[in-house]
């Protein structure tokens, strides 16, 4: 028998699941040795730059390319006219709509793509852009979505006039995109009619942008001789890009190779297909030369996918004790000029119907109306699963507002409404099957850690002196890991994910997964899964993603789907290998496979000490001595179609103080408890939570894509678009509980988006809590000093008597 010490040592050597192993990616990133799209330099490469509209809404009267074409080094100026013969001046979106690749007769948002200049280098391309003369006839701009369906609203999409469908069901106005309803409206209305208490509140999730550090871009390289197209691209879903490019270009999918190299953050911004990509690909096919297109920061913030812009009205019906009886929600969703919302095809509002949250709400109804406005298209899931941030935001604000109305403590009202641990698996009123959870334990742990009663006492005492202190609580449930192919697909492709593992004769391995890391550390964590499953050290397990010529087809990384779907595929592929290894071991040890026990890194014959084969030995044998009739080699592929989503959850608490003369907010304490089931790498989890909380802080406290009344963008540089630095970022305290997912092979759930989803309402609840005693029920984000001061000033709290 192995001693406990030997056993532990062997286990530790693997650096498998549960190990806070250092990230394999970091040595190259911190030494500037990463390889991003803009690091790709190919011989003879040309550069594309985009001519953009200065107007939010205008008719294009003429485009004059002459001066630009006269500049030496400018090779072409592409416009919609040039793309028309190829039928590429419009392209399909992931949401069933179409989007102009280059503006076709009119522009519908400021900075819209009007022409693309192709030149010998990026400086000449920029000079060329300046020389393209476009004549516009400005049209009235529609900026406020609340007026989108007015009788006299300007019609944005003339291409859709007369069509009562834009890819997501019936529309009722030229600027209407879809109406999506879920739940039992009649039953909900009945409960509202007779409830003890009801609350109703308009809650805004303003338009923001994921703003990854690396902007979007690509290098398209078409080899005319071979008829092959290679595209290096900032994509969170390279295989989907390959399918779309094949459908658009008519090239066989086998002749297209999409490579996502290192990606400098995605956060949903890199899910879609953008006009710049299409322009670069077309130009490369035309010239037979590589063409690079890289966005500037301004272009990124102005045009490639934004997030949120959900104008919600929430209502709760409850009894006198604060037990919620029903939820009713109406949402106006501003999708911009084209419906390029990123979503599984059948979900026009994503998984917004998770809006019953962590609470046992018997009846609910939600309705979402999508409208067009003269703004950039998008509506992506910014560090969250599809529309989950919006959903959680709504319910977490509403439960606070209900508590306020009833005079019940905000923690207490949550305990009264939580889905109880024994209710799992739990079927929600809006149709979801929550896999596992223990909400009361999580919240209790947080309240104890921060000494909640003492904080409330301090707050009460501060209030007597006119000081503003807020305590925010958020107990969220996420829905991640899209998703079961029975209800999730993208353009008809089921949302499975995949892993292929090859173990080499000497006991090292390469694994290729259909997802793509953008900072999440997949190269580290997937190796850990395989290490534990196969008993090989994670150090010798190479993980590759992002090259469609080598990785198996996968749907990519967003919506926290890598661990729930790709991680499950990885575990299952490894298990297939272990099954084969067991048979090889049995053959080598001349026993039946049933006589073997698996122990960390080897098979042992039951009851016969010393009779064992390590995985390393088995790997060697797989290439020279396998049982008769068995194929040689040690390889496996798994395409994993998840049976359900996973439902990570958490309890967060924020304490902040507000300067009542400047409106500045200082976060004093932020305590985040997350439960993501089995924890693969605690250090990476903590890092992801820090990152997600920082982005949550950014959204809650400052981020806003702002427009003036004419549709001109006011915040498209990092001077005005808030990206917190280390100076502004609060200190984070993290904690966890572990409630494994019952259906995931490892019991793991996604985690990296939870802090964003749960963090935003926590901050906003804290700011609102600071004013709750003054009768304020809702202050919308972002809570900039200016915005907070407006509330203070209206209430006269800054008076110096």
């Amino acid at each position: 028998m192995a001693t406990t010490a030997e056993y532990l040592e062997r286990e530790q050597k693997l650096e498998g699941i549960g190990c806070a192993r250092k990230r394999k990616e970091d040595p190259r990133f911190i030494q500037g040795k990463g390889h991003y799209v803009d690091d790709v330099h190919l011989p003879g490469m040309l550069f594309g730059a985009v001519v953009r509209s200065p107007h939010a809404h205008a008719r294009i009267k003429s485009i004059n390319k002459e001066k630009a074409l006269a500049l030496p080094g400018v090779r072409a100026v592409l416009t919609a006219e040039d793309l028309k013969p190829l039928k590429l001046h419009w392209m399909p979106t992931l949401a069933g709509d179409v989007q102009a690749v280059l503006a076709d007769e009119k522009v519908c948002f400021q900075y819209q793509e009007v022409a693309m200049v192709i030149a010998d280098d990026r400086y000449l391309a920029a000079d060329g852009v300046d020389l393209v003369e476009v004549e516009y006839e400005p049209l009235p701009a529609l900026v406020d979505p609340h007026h989108a369906m007015d009788a006299d609203a300007p019609v944005i999409r003339e291409d859709l006039v007369g069509k009562d469908e834009a890819g997501q069901g019936k529309r009722v106005h030229d600027n209407h995109i879809f109406r999506w309803e879920v739940g039992d409206k009649a039953a909900t209305d009945r409960i509202f009619a007779t409830a003890d208490v009801t609350v109703k509140q308009a809650v805004l999730n303003p338009r923001v942008h994921p703003c990854p550090l690396e902007t979007c871009g690509c290098v398209a390289s078409f080899d005319k001789v071979r008829g092959e197209l290679t595209v290096y691209i900032t994509s969170q879903a390279p295989h989907v890009v390959r399918t779309v490019v094949s459908l658009l270009s008519g090239l066989p999918e086998s002749k297209i190779r999409i490579i996502s190299p290192d990606i400098g953050g995605g956060f949903g911004n890199k899910v879609g297909i953008y006009p710049g990509y299409v322009g670069a690909i077309v130009a490369s096919i035309v010239f037979g030369r590589p063409v690079k297109w890289i966005e500037s920061r301004i272009e990124n913030l102005s045009t490639t996918a934004f997030a949120r812009d959900y104008h919600m009205v929430g209502e709760l019906a409850a009894d006198k004790n604060g037990r919620i009886k029903a939820l009713r929600v109406n949402v106006l969703a501003d999708h911009g000029a084209f419906n390029a919302h990123a979503q599984p095809t059948k979900w026009p509002a994503g998984f917004f119907s998770i809006c019953t949250g962590s609470y046992d709400i018997p009846v609910a109804y939600a309705r979402v109306d999508g409208v067009y406005t003269n703004k950039a298209p998008g509506g992506v899931a910014y560090r969250c699963s599809f529309r989950v941030t919006e959903a959680v935001h709504l319910i977490e604000r509403m439960i606070d507002i209900l508590a306020q109305k009833l005079g019940i403590d905000k923690a207490e009202i949550r305990f009264r409404n939580f889905i109880k641990p024994e209710q799992f698996p739990y079927h929600s009123a809006l149709g979801w099957d929550y896999d596992s959870g223990d909400y009361p334990t999580a919240l209790k742990k947080v309240l104890e850690a921060v000494n909640y009663p003492a904080l409330r006492e301090e707050q009460a005492e501060k209030r007597t002196r006119g000081e503003l202190m807020g305590i925010g609580i958020c107990t969220f449930t996420e829905i991640v890991g899209a998703g079961p192919s029975k209800n999730c697909d993208i353009l008809g492709v089921g949302m499975f994910d995949s892993c292929e593992i090859r173990v080499h004769p000497t006991g090292s391995a390469i694994a290729r997964i259909g997802t793509i890391t953008q900072g999440q550390g997949h190269q580290t964590t997937y190796a850990q899964i395989i290490a534990t499953e196969l008993g090989l050290p994670s150090e010798v397990i190479q993980v590759e993603e992002g090259d469609t010529n080598t990785a198996p087809y996968g749907l990519g990384t967003y919506g926290s789907r890598s661990t729930p779907v790709g991680g499950a595929a990885t575990a299952n592929a490894a298990r297939k290998l272990r099954d084969k290894a067991r048979k090889i071991a049995a053959h080598l040890l001349e026993v039946s496979a049933d006589d073997l026990d698996w122990e960390i890194d080897r098979f042992k014959v039951k009851g016969v000490p010393g009779q064992e084969k390590t995985m390393k030995e088995i790997a060697w044998a797989a290439y020279n001595n396998v049982p008769p009739g068995m194929e040689m080699g040690l390889e496996a592929v798994e395409y994993y179609d998840p049976p359900n989503f996973t439902y990570p959850f958490g309890a967060y608490l924020c304490v902040l103080d507000i300067d009542r003369y400047t409106g500045e907010t200082k976060v004093r304490r932020f305590y985040a408890l997350d439960d993501c089931g089995t924890r693969i790498n605690p250090m990476i989890i903590e890092g992801q939570i820090h990152g997600g909380l920082t982005e949550a802080y950014a959204v809650a406290m400052g981020q806003l894509i702002a427009f003036d009344a004419g549709g001109n963008l006011l915040s498209n540089s990092l001077m005005d678009y808030f990206l917190p630095t280390a100076v502004e970022t609060p200190k984070w305290e993290t904690d966890f509980t572990v409630t494994p997912s019952p259906h995931h092979p490892l019991g793991a759930k996604g985690v990296a988006e939870s802090p964003h989803v749960g963090g935003i309402p926590c901050f906003t609840n804290a700011v609102n809590d600071a004013f709750a005693h003054l009768g304020v029920t809702q202050i919308d984000m972002p809570h900039t000093a200016f915005n907070v001061w407006k509330t203070i000033h209206e209430l006269g709290l800054d008076n110096r008597a």
């Binding site: 400086y123 920061r297 301004i298 400047t662 990092l718 808030f722 100076v727 000093a785 200016f786 800054d798």
Partner: protein, 289 residues
Amino acid sequence: MIPGTFDYHAPATVDEAIRLLGELGDEAKLLAGGHSLLPMMKLRFASPKHLIDLNRIGALKGIREQSGMIHIGAMTTENELIASALLREKCPLLPEAAKWISDPQVRNCGTLGGDIAHGDPGNDHPAVMMAVDAVFVLQGPRGERLIVADRFFHGLYYTELAPDEILTEIRIPAVSKGTGYAYCKLKRKTGDFATAAAAVQLRLDGGVCKKINIALTNVAPTALKAGDAEMSLTGKVIDEALIEQAARKAMAVCDPAEDQRGNRDYKTHMAGEMTRRAIRQALARAKGN
């Protein structure tokens, strides 16, 4: 984010720079730290055909004291101001304010002269210069002239500098005993310009305010002197009521532009609040001296 084409010149002396400036005329721009000019060029708000780089001119650098005045070369960087022991002792408001400018990258390159010459009301040094009674040395083909900070800033990006002149030096009287100072700046985040800021330098004698300068940043097309506020405190023993009154007088001179930092009302109130805080802090420091 790519500038148009330009020629680059790197003179070694002030005379050569002035000659180049004269020859190349309107098409030329002086390049100091580049942290205001280059962003404007990248956005193609400015497209000079020639850049005359002042970084090789040693005579434009350095900080020294000469008969009670501190002389600072226009090409002295923010970080050099912050690191200067002489300034900390003889003109402490300047390094204090410099710390509030943007971030370490900008402060490594950005210069005092460039910050002043740019004529941007969002820049911090113009108000600081007014608060410390700075004198600017302007050199051109016709020789040298001196001008006090109060008279230098005429409008948005519009200063007393003639197109053929260079700001070569900044001269500031060394502080005397009983001086207190403060720069209070409200900004949204590191790297941001002021929503509003107030520079205050005052001198107490037997508890009485003998002289006070109050200047405001980013609440008008130029940095502003709050003259009425200064007058209301001069010759007085400053107390909270007087501070409140002075803050209101400072607010009265504000004429800010609305932007993402806030509307006119907010910025005006913040100018008042920064004034209160700066006077209080300056007072406390003067009493400690």
